[in-house]
């Protein structure tokens, strides 16, 4: 494949990469290469056989593979060039890409612009530092999902799940439907980590016990998991003595958080936000490296794939514009700060000159609040939860109300009704 004249290279062909590549083509970029390490486009969507995808984007209730195929077909229709079974192993500050595949060996090229769409990875047992032995049968929920939904294996039949993230709860249901018994879902926080609909439809529907304010304090078993010890935690998330109990099981699944996969970004000199774990970007989703954009879970972990698609379209469009016009004249100048009960806001900087969508998450659940963006806008929200992203649209007109020379604006989540 000739790669000397690539306009936009998109790294990763999951939902983010596909949306970015399609939009880059639609926005006029001639040659858009979509680089994917797997043998087909679609990324993790293939293993997400459950429904709930596309409710916002397509106004339909689709499964992961169905959602994915709509984008795969569109990518091919719009003339995106897939480069499959190709792993990017190097990314230079000058946008030089180094990649390997079985056909062409080691390839290097320099596209006019790049969209980072590598997605995220799951936190592992090592990262949690769970005490105990190191037997087989401890795996992340996403890995289990691949085994159950793609490879055709069920890891075990008595399962404890640590963490109530969406993948964990969805796997609780999947494993139950496949004939395994989920003994417990254990969550260290006082509230679930995923969406309410998953608590109801994945746990309650199947009478799966959920232990909030609990954690796994010990793993037992030399060769295969034999049991885990579960204990209640106090306000500092430390186990409370005397509350331990041992649950016999052959499998421990971990659903304890996702981490943006930014090793290539770091190689390229991209500056990361310590809170999101993703790049710091402006509203065009450009990073600090000119011509390098990012979208989807590599930028910040999203709640719904629909939001991944929308955000990555922004990145794709900006990458096309960069490829066609060269360096953008205006870049983000106003810093967006996370204020009261706001964990982060993406983008981290804005120009204030065009329509902008802010994505954010809160630190703590709260009811009856308003989201206040500087003094230019407020929006009432009935309830906020860390597991659900908030999206605030700011029109260029609204942003025009900012005083000349504004250096930063703060986004706060405030209580309403004088409580």
């Amino acid at each position: 494949m000739k790669l000397h004249d690539v306009d936009v290279a998109v790294i990763g062909a999951g939902p983010a990469g596909m949306a970015a590549a399609i939009r880059a083509r639609e926005a006029g970029a001639e040659k858009v290469v979509l680089m994917e390490r797997a043998e087909e486009l679609g990324g993790l969507l293939h293993q997400c056989v459950h429904n709930g995808f596309g409710l916002l984007y397509f106004n339909e209730d689709l499964t992961g593979p169905e959602y994915g195929h709509r984008f795969i077909e569109k990518a091919l229709d719009t003339g995106v060039t897939p480069l499959l079974e190709t792993m990017v192993v190097r990314l230079g500050e000058d946008r030089q890409i180094g990649a390997v595949n079985t056909k062409e060996g080691f390839i290097t090229f320099r596209p006019k612009s790049i969209v980072l769409a590598m997605g995220c990875r799951e936190r592992s047992r090592g990262a949690l530092n769970i005490p105990g032995t190191r037997p087989a049968g401890v795996l992340t929920a996403g890995t289990a999902q691949r085994y159950v939904n793609v490879e055709g294996f069920v890891p075990g039949k008595k399962v404890v799940i640590l963490g109530s993230g969406d993948i964990g709860m969805i796997m609780a249901r999947r494993l139950t439907l496949e004939g395994a018994r989920v003994e417990a879902v254990v969550e260290i926080l006082p509230y679930i980590g995923g969406l309410i609909r998953n608590e109801v439809q994945c746990l309650h529907d199947f009478d799966i016990p959920l232990f909030l304010n609990h954690t796994v304090t010990q793993i037992h078993g030399e060769e295969r998991v034999e049991a885990v010890t579960v204990a209640q935690v106090n306000g500092n998330r430390q186990p409370v003595a005397g509350t331990q109990r041992t649950i016999a099981c052959d499998t421990l699944l971990l659903s304890v958080g996702l981490i943006p996969e930014n090793e290539l970004s770091i190689m390229a000199g991209v500056r990361l936000d310590p809170v999101t774990g993703g790049a710091r970007v402006d509203e065009t989703r450009q990073t600090n490296i000119p011509g390098v954009f990012a979208g989807g879970n590599v930028l910040h972990v999203h709640d719904l794939v629909d939001n991944v698609s929308w955000e990555s379209e922004m990145a794709g469009e900006s990458a096309a514009r960069f490829a066609l016009e060269g360096k953008q004249k205006e870049s983000g100048k106003i810093v967006v700060r996370a204020g009261r009960n706001i964990r982060y806001v993406v983008p981290q900087t804005i120009s204030g000159r065009r329509d902008t969508t802010l994505y954010m998450r809160v630190n703590e659940p709260e009811e009856t609040v308003r989201i206040k963006v500087g003094d230019i806008m407020t929006k009432g929200v009935r309830a906020v939860k860390p597991s659900e992203m908030l999206k605030i649209e700011l029109s260029a007109e609204k942003l025009g109300k900012l005083r000349e020379g504004t250096k930063e604006i703060t986004v706060d989540c405030e209580k309403r009704g004088g409580k």
Binding site: F106, F153, E223, E263, I266
Partner: protein, 495 residues
């Protein structure tokens, strides 16, 4: 059930047994090594710190300790050994940090002793210790806590990969004629008048000499023939491995009295741990980590290098150090013939076992000879091994060449460590039979995601190459299967 006859039986495929087997393969010895696990180097060896060539910088070492003498003997042997076997070895040097003037007594004593002992007990071909001042310390290691006023620099300290070294030693021993039996657990031993009868799960073995290098099970094996004329105190240590992205925080191993240590690894990660001398007794064979040990180790590491963060830990584990005379605060090895059972040789090398292994292996030849074993030189002894390709370490040109020769090297299976299908297949060709076997040979699953991504893929390759089904693939042999059921198997069972 088979019956094997061999002159020398080595029990245990850890670093000790492996080094002894390889040393014996220099001679025309009829020797067999048995290992109960599915792979070698998976006991204490796996949990050992990767620090090599200790000896000059440890005040607790004494010339009257057998253990100390073995470690010193090993200091100049390690690098040539690694070179012969094509195992990575890197001299990084260590810095024993000094916090205040009162703390200066320790380095002064260390420097004085080095001068007295260099060429006497300590080998003459090792580098001398140096004292470095605060400014040099800051220039060398800007991320070490600023409170330290200087350090004793031991340029001899190196890192390698103990499991890879063990695998290479066993591969080389095998090539030179030593018989190696894996998944062969010694269940009982009977001492006869001029030999032993050994029962294993795979049949019996008749032998004349036994070398008991069973690591943490050395006591259990010795008990079978009442040769346990030593006391064992298993002591727990703790180590954590940090993400490669913080691998550059320090360049040398750093440690401080009464505190932990932080060091680069040979693979570009950092690791920290509690130095064993200070730790409490553990329960025998309890390999579980506990929170207290983990918290203490982290706190100690942060005292040395404040930027060490729990968030960067990708893996942690406990190690076992088998102390002999724990009560006197230091430990002694048990390398020698049992007082009661002739031709039964215990080889429990204690801490630091990896450093002492080459010395133990050399000494074992003398012990065996004194016990009547006749050894002639093996004319076909080939000391060299060739490491398997490490794709991530190659230049672009070499990568291209390798993929052109075998396209499987163009298929990256482990993204964190950039390990290709070609390497995994080669590891299996070289003897890996389990997920851990592959992992310790070429590192898929050693990175920050700990096999979350590559696990299913490595499982598939293992099953394909070994001609077994994926549910038969184990993590580490025995009952450690990763996938217990086929899809729909549980539903069908319900009907």
């Amino acid at each position: 059930m088979s019956r094997v006859e061999t002159e020398v039986l080595i029990i245990g495929g850890g670093i000790g047994g492996a080094a002894i087997a390889r040393e014996l393969s220099r001679y025309t010895a009829d020797a067999t090594l048995v290992e109960k696990g599915a792979d070698v180097g998976q006991g204490i060896t796996k949990y050992s710190s990767t620090i090599m060539c200790q000896g000059a910088n440890v005040l607790e070492f004494r010339s009257e300790y057998h253990n100390s003498r073995l470690v010193w003997a090993g200091m100049p042997l390690m690098e040539p050994l690694c070179r012969e076997l094509d195992v990575p070895f890197k001299r990084i040097g260590s810095l024993e940090l000094v916090e205040n003037q009162a703390g200066m007594r320790h380095p002064e004593k260390m420097m004085r002793r080095f001068k007295d002992w260099h060429g006497k007990y300590l080998p003459s071909d090792i580098e001398p210790l140096q004292f470095i001042d605060r400014d040099t310390l800051r220039a060398w290691e800007p991320n070490v806590d600023k409170k330290y006023i200087g350090a004793v620099y031991d340029p001899n300290i190196a890192v390698n990969d103990p499991v890879r070294l063990t695998i290479a030693l066993v591969d080389n021993a095998k090539k030179n004629g030593i018989n190696v039996l894996l998944e062969t657990e010694v269940l009982d031993i009977k001492a006869g008048t001029d030999g032993f009868e050994v029962w294993t799960n795979n049949g019996s073995i008749a032998c004349r000499y036994i070398i008991n290098a069973a690591g943490e099970y050395v006591g259990k094996i010795a008990q079978m023939v009442d040769a346990d004329d030593f006391a064992m105190y298993p002591v727990k240590s703790y180590q954590a491995v940090l993400d490669k992205k913080v691998g550059g925080l320090i360049n040398r191993m750093v440690l401080a009295t009464g505190s932990g240590m932080v060091s680069p690894t040979i693979h570009g990660n950092l690791f920290f741990g509690i130095s064993p001398g200070s730790q409490r007794l553990g329960k025998a064979h309890d390999h579980s980590t506990d929170k207290k040990l983990a918290d203490t180790a982290l706190r100690h590491a942060q005292e040395l290098v404040p930027a060490v963060s729990a968030a960067d830990i990708i893996n942690s584990f406990v190690g076992f150090i088998v102390f002999r005379n724990f009560e006197i605060g230091w430990h002694e090895c048990t390398v020698g013939v049992s007082r009661w059972v002739p031709r039964f040789i215990n080889a429990s090398i204690g801490f630091p076992g990896i450093c002492a292994a080459p010395g133990v292996a050399k000494e074992m030849i003398d012990i065996l000879t004194r016990q009547g074993l006749r050894l002639a030189e093996n004319p076909r002894f080939d000391p060299y091994e060739k490491a398997m390709p490490d794709f991530s370490d190659l230049s672009d040109e070499e990568k291209k060449e390798l993929i052109a020769r075998d396209p499987r090297y163009g298929h990256v299976v482990c993204r964190c460590e950039t390990v290709t299908e070609g390497e995994i297949v080669e590891a299996i060709r070289r003897g890996a039979r389990t997920l851990d076997g592959v992992k310790f040979r070429c590192r898929p699953g050693m990175g920050r995601c700990q096999g979350g991504f590559c696990g299913p893929r490595v499982t598939r390759i293992l099953a394909r190459e070994l001609g077994i089904s994926e549910e038969e693939v184990t993590k580490k042999g025995g009952e450690s299967r990763n996938l217990l059921y086929k899809g729909k198997e549980l539903l069908e069972a319900h009907q």
